[in-house]
């Protein structure tokens, strides 16, 4: 049972990160290679805020806003002129973001490890089926579940969601209806970067903060997105849970086979469902 719980917490953390990536790809058609760097920036900004204020909850609110602003500026000034061009330009640009953010973090915080701790209310543990599980992990599961429901609701059930989805399918038509498509795109990119930052803050108390922390997790993140289907939130949830459970069960029985098991999952998906488990049906007007 504890394995399931731990698997859920790993999966939820992956989902939080992958959701932003899949959102930006699904709605803007941009593969944002810098998503992991924005996750790292979120964690470092939270570290700084906690150092100044001692309040984790404040950091969880403020850090995503700051990183979201950074995302908005990057999108407005650099990504926006490239929407009509070949995807290679966007890939090169987001690679540039990685170098920029890495260098900024190196200059601002140095190369030493940094650390975040769980907030005082979640620093304890709970005994579940003979295993000790931290309260913080239970919080991650609850927080991830709430966020995934909220995200799903906004995209599928609200007017904002309808506009955003319409702009991703036929931006010219949406523009003719008097909606500022540029602003919609900026909004989506900001939401994606905010999700990356949120996952950075949430991961902070579990992992050391260091330069390069983005590289190790972004690969997992892309696997989630590919397994679930590029641009699909439901797919991201399922992909993240599958990888989370594979990791947890793998650790239980054969820790040294975990990566092989995870990649096997990816390969099997690509063989039988190359479009991902939840492929997006694109309807053109």
């Amino acid at each position: 049972m504890s394995v399931v719980l731990i698997g859920l917490s790993i999966g939820m953390l992956l989902f939080l990160l992958a959701a932003g990536l899949t959102l930006v790809f699904g709605l803007l058609g941009v593969v944002n290679f810098a998503h992991g760097s924005l996750y790292m920036l979120g964690a470092y900004v939270a570290f700084q805020l906690v150092t100044w204020t001692g309040n984790f909850w404040l950091a969880l609110v403020i850090a995503p806003i700051i990183v979201g602003l950074v995302g908005g500026i990057l999108e407005y000034f650099t990504l926006r002129p490239l929407y009509g061009r070949d995807a290679a330009y966007q890939l090169l640009l987001t690679f540039g973001y990685i170098l920029l953010i890495e260098e900024f973090i190196r200059m601002a915080w140095g190369v030493n490890f940094k650390s975040l701790n769980p907030p005082p209310g979640l620093a304890g543990t709970t005994e579940i089926f003979g295993s000790t599980v931290t309260d913080y992990r239970i919080f991650i599961i609850g927080f991830g579940t709430l966020l995934s429901i909220a995200l799903f609701y906004v995209i599928e059930r609200t007017r904002i969601g309808i506009v955003v989805r319409a702009a991703s399918v036929n931006s010219a038509m949406v523009s003719c209806l008097g909606i500022d498509v540029g602003r919609v795109r900026t909004g989506v990119f900001v939401a994606g970067t905010m999700l990356a930052a949120i996952s950075g803050v949430i991961a902070g108390p579990l992992l050391p903060l260091k330069l390069g922390m983005s590289f190790s997790i972004i690969i997992d993140c892309f696997m989630v997105v590919v397994i679930g289907g590029l641009g699909n939130i439901r797919g991201a949830i399922l992909g993240a849970m599958l990888i989370g459970m594979t990791r947890a069960v793998g650790q239980q029985f054969a820790a040294d086979w975990i990566f092989l098991l995870t990649y096997a999952l990816l390969i099997v998906t690509l063989i039988f469902r190359p479009e991902g488990l939840f492929n997006v049906k694109v309807r053109q007007a």
């Binding site: 650390s115 000790t132 579990l206 330069l211 390069g212 947890a248 975990i258």
Partner: protein
């Protein structure tokens, strides 16, 4: 035919250049140049930047070697073995007097044949793989820091001292993790200590919770860890959050330092480890070094900085004594030399494998008192060199 002639010309040209390089290494130069190949970016950036700081301080304090100014040139090996080789070749092409580096053992093993081929001494002050002074040793490579074997011996002594009955291991799934555990397992079996379980986790693992749960339920009274850097912090942080330290004694071989202890947080207190160096180690030379280092960098020196300072100083002492620019004489003089001014007390360079012999330090993570770091290592035991090192290779 045309291609064959061009190839032959290129080979002859390269041979002339190489031979000139060797002659240049023996002729007096305008400066004694140390070529540092260290990871200044990538996963081991912290190692490289610290090594650079320690070596730069040694160079600055020395000023001149053989009557000529001494200076250090730095190349970033990016924590990649292939880059290490490229950068080492670049420095050698520039005519450096000695090579210094690298960070990870894989990188050092990659540049060792380059130093050997170009007949330029290579000073290793961080990498701990046994092969460096074992199966892969060569005439021009000298290690002035710890090797994995001696650290495993110290960990086994700790098990004996505290009387652990059953040990669980969590090691990184790399040759160093498996080799260290194989040596340790043999020692534990000989002592009659039970192995409660073993897990090899991939480098860069993000989650150890299930493994930690297995350790807690295994009935082990000790957890032996063979990891480094971020893996150590992730594992200890997550173990600390479920208070695993209350159930088992956590220890390892050189897997923890002050920087990592700070990143783990208060739960690190009580964890035992080999300390490759510590600023609190009480020798007059170390006190002077720590003072100078803090004055220059406004921080406490870590193991990578301490060993870099010590190793570079040792080699410069040797070169000065030879009074010659002949690198063959430097190598001959370094073999069997004694470093009396070492930060660790007197140390000898073993001629048979070019491994420095010295004391081994065992430490515990404790709370520091200002101006020391809030969490740091404290040396609790010092092991004499006898019995710590492998026999000379035959």
């Amino acid at each position: 035919m045309k291609f064959a002639v061009s190839l032959a010309r290129a080979l002859v040209g390269a041979a002339i250049l190489l031979s000139q390089q060797t002659v240049h290494a023996q002729a007096p130069k305008d400066a004694f140049v140390i070529g540092g190949v260290v990871p200044l970016s990538g996963a081991y950036a912290l190692l490289g930047t610290s090594m650079q700081k320690g070596a730069d301080l040694a160079v600055e304090q020395r000023g001149k070697v053989l009557g000529k100014p001494v200076k250090a040139l730095w190349e970033d090996s990016e924590t990649k073995p292939q880059t290490s080789v490229q950068k080492a070749n670049k420095l050698l092409a520039g005519g450096v007097s000695v090579l210094f580096g690298d960070g990870a053992s894989g990188q050092t093993l990659a540049i060792m044949p380059v130093a050997d081929q170009r007949k330029v001494p290579l000073i290793v002050t961080t990498s701990a793989a046994d092969q460096i002074t074992g199966s892969a040793r060569n005439k021009y490579t000298f290690r002035t820091s710890n090797l994995a074997f001696m650290e495993t011996r110290m960990a086994a002594e700790y098990v004996k001292k505290v009387g652990l009955k059953s040990v669980y291991v969590v090691a990184v799934d790399q040759p160093v993790g498996r080799d260290t555990w194989a040596t340790m397992k043999a020692s534990l079996t000989a002592m009659g200590v039970k192995v409660a379980g073993e897990d090899f986790a991939a480098i860069g693992s993000q989650d150890y919770s299930v493994i930690i749960d297995k350790v807690a339920k295994s009935g082990a009274d000790g957890l032996f860890i063979v990891t480094t850097g971020a893996d150590t912090i992730t594992l200890l942080k997550q173990a600390g959050q479920v208070k695993l330290g209350n159930k088992v004694k956590i220890f390892g071989t050189g897997f923890l330092d002050d920087d990592a202890a700070m990143a783990v947080g208060p739960d690190v207190v009580g964890v035992k480890t080999v300390a490759r160096y510590h600023f609190s180690y009480d020798t007059p030379t170390n006190k002077a070094f720590v003072e100078a280092y803090r004055k220059k960098y406004d921080e406490w020196p870590n193991a990578y900085a301490g060993h870099a300072f010590d190793g570079i100083n040792w080699f410069m002492d040797v070169v000065e004594k030879t009074g010659s620019w002949d690198s063959e004489k430097w190598v001959a003089a370094f073999e069997g030399s004694t470093h009396t001014n070492s930060l660790f007390g007197p140390r000898q360079m073993r001629a048979c494998d070019h491994q420095a012999l010295g004391v081994g330090l065992w430490a515990e993570a404790v709370k520091g008192t200002a101006p020391q770091p809030a969490l740091m290592l404290k040396v609790t035991d010092t092991f004499p060199p006898a019995g710590l090192f492998p026999d000379c290779p035959k």
